[in-house]
């Protein structure tokens, strides 16, 4: 029964994550907490490995299509990795109840970040990664510390935050920002993953049962996205994520 729940949670995480841009682990972990009641730190440690799996699977496709800007990725990944280390260390220091609350707040705020990005999309002029001022590179690098911190702290990719930084500060086109963000997630995931493995907080049982579900869910989600004309279904999915976020906050508070 546990195995079915894990595969199912991975599938739902992959499905909703690909539609809302949150990623699989962010949605999968609250579902597993609610159903199996596994320790949040073990789920976070295992979740960050799942982000590496989805990152390298997607990166191969994006690199083939020439969408990933590897050099920009390396430039800002360095500070994101630093943020990830700080995030993991913070996770190990703070009370799990605080982790639940932060997780809930991130779940509620991430779709809002997505909506803001969409509303402002037409106002920015993308430069495809050329002629980026050094001031913007420094600013993006500093902000990537926070994206890496969220990734390390909660075991999620934090792709929504990465894309926002790359689209508005580095002025990358959305598809290039998404592809480069996916590449960066792999590097921050490795950093966080190594630290969680060292702490004994990565369980191969969770990983082997959830990853097939996440991949299947992501594939289904991306197909639904293509057919999704109206925003109604997306609003419903966002509402579901908010319910999960509120549930996490409640778990932290009571």
């Amino acid at each position: 029964m546990d195995a079915i729940i894990l595969v199912g949670a991975g599938f739902i995480g992959g499905l909703l994550g690909s539609i809302t841009g949150l990623g699989g682990s962010a949605i999968m972990n609250p579902i597993i907490v609610a159903t199996l009641g596994l320790p949040i730190r073990v789920l976070i440690g295992s979740g960050i490995i799942a982000t590496v799996a989805t990152s390298i699977t997607s990166t191969s496709k994006y690199i083939r299509e020439g969408l990933t800007n590897v050099k920009i990725g390396f430039t800002i990944a360095l500070t994101a990795m630093l943020g990830s280390i700080i995030g993991v260390k913070t996770n190990l220091l703070i009370d799990p109840r605080i982790i639940f609350i932060i997780f809930g707040v991130v779940l509620i705020s991430a779709p809002i970040v997505g909506f803001i990005r969409e509303r402002r999309a037409s106002r920015t002029q993308a430069t495809a990664g050329k002629n980026i001022s050094s001031k913007n590179i420094y600013l993006a690098s500093i902000l990537m510390v926070s994206a890496g911190f969220i990734s390390g702290l909660l075991g999620i990719g934090a792709g929504a935050f990465n894309v926002l930084i790359m689209e508005y500060i580095l002025l990358l086109p959305l598809r290039m920002a998404t592809a480069t963000s996916t590449f960066i997630i792999g590097l921050t995931g490795v950093t966080g993953g190594i630290l969680y493995i060292k702490e004994g907080l990565v369980d191969p049982r969770i990983i082997m049962f959830t990853i097939p579900g996440i991949i299947l869910g992501s594939l289904t989600g991306s197909r639904i996205m293509v057919r999704l004309r109206g925003r109604t279904l997306r609003y419903i999915f966002t509402a579901l994520i908010w319910v999960l976020g509120i549930q996490m906050i409640m778990k932290g508070l009571y």
């Binding site: 073990v42 390298i56 590897v70 390396f74 191969p204 049962f209």
Partner: protein
């Protein structure tokens, strides 16, 4: 070969590395899952004896008495983590060959950061 040609070729190589890495890692995890469920038959008692301390250390799983399926899945996790590291190593060499000092230094710094995390943090 010019620097831009080297970098263009390196993109193809990175594509192949990530594709091979993900296929190998996911294949290993899937093999681990199949053995764990069908041969070891441990899926029914998945989380009954868990988290008593040290049990989830991947290296101790590899050395210990745990099921073969779990050991194979642990190897899959290590392959997953190794793939971005190999991509970074390859990129550092490619940038060096293309005489792109900036790119080479950046990729090397990433590798040094991973090494520090692995050994010191």
């Amino acid at each position: 070969m010019s620097g831009s040609e080297v970098l263009e070729r390196s993109k193809n190589a990175i594509y192949r590395i990530t594709l091979a890495g993900s296929a190998l890692a996911l294949g290993t995890l899937l093999l681990g899952l199949i053995i764990y469920v069908f041969i070891d038959q441990e899926a029914d008692s998945l989380f009954t004896e868990i988290y008593r301390g040290g049990e989830t250390h991947l290296l101790s799983i590899l050395k210990g008495q745990q099921s073969i399926g779990l050991k194979i899945a642990s190897i899959g996790v290590f392959i997953l983590l190794a793939t971005p590291i190999i991509v970074t190593m390859y990129s550092a060499i490619a940038y060096y060959m293309a005489k792109d000092t900036h790119g080479s230094i950046l990729a090397s710094l990433i590798l040094i950061a991973i090494l520090i995390v692995l050994l010191l943090v």
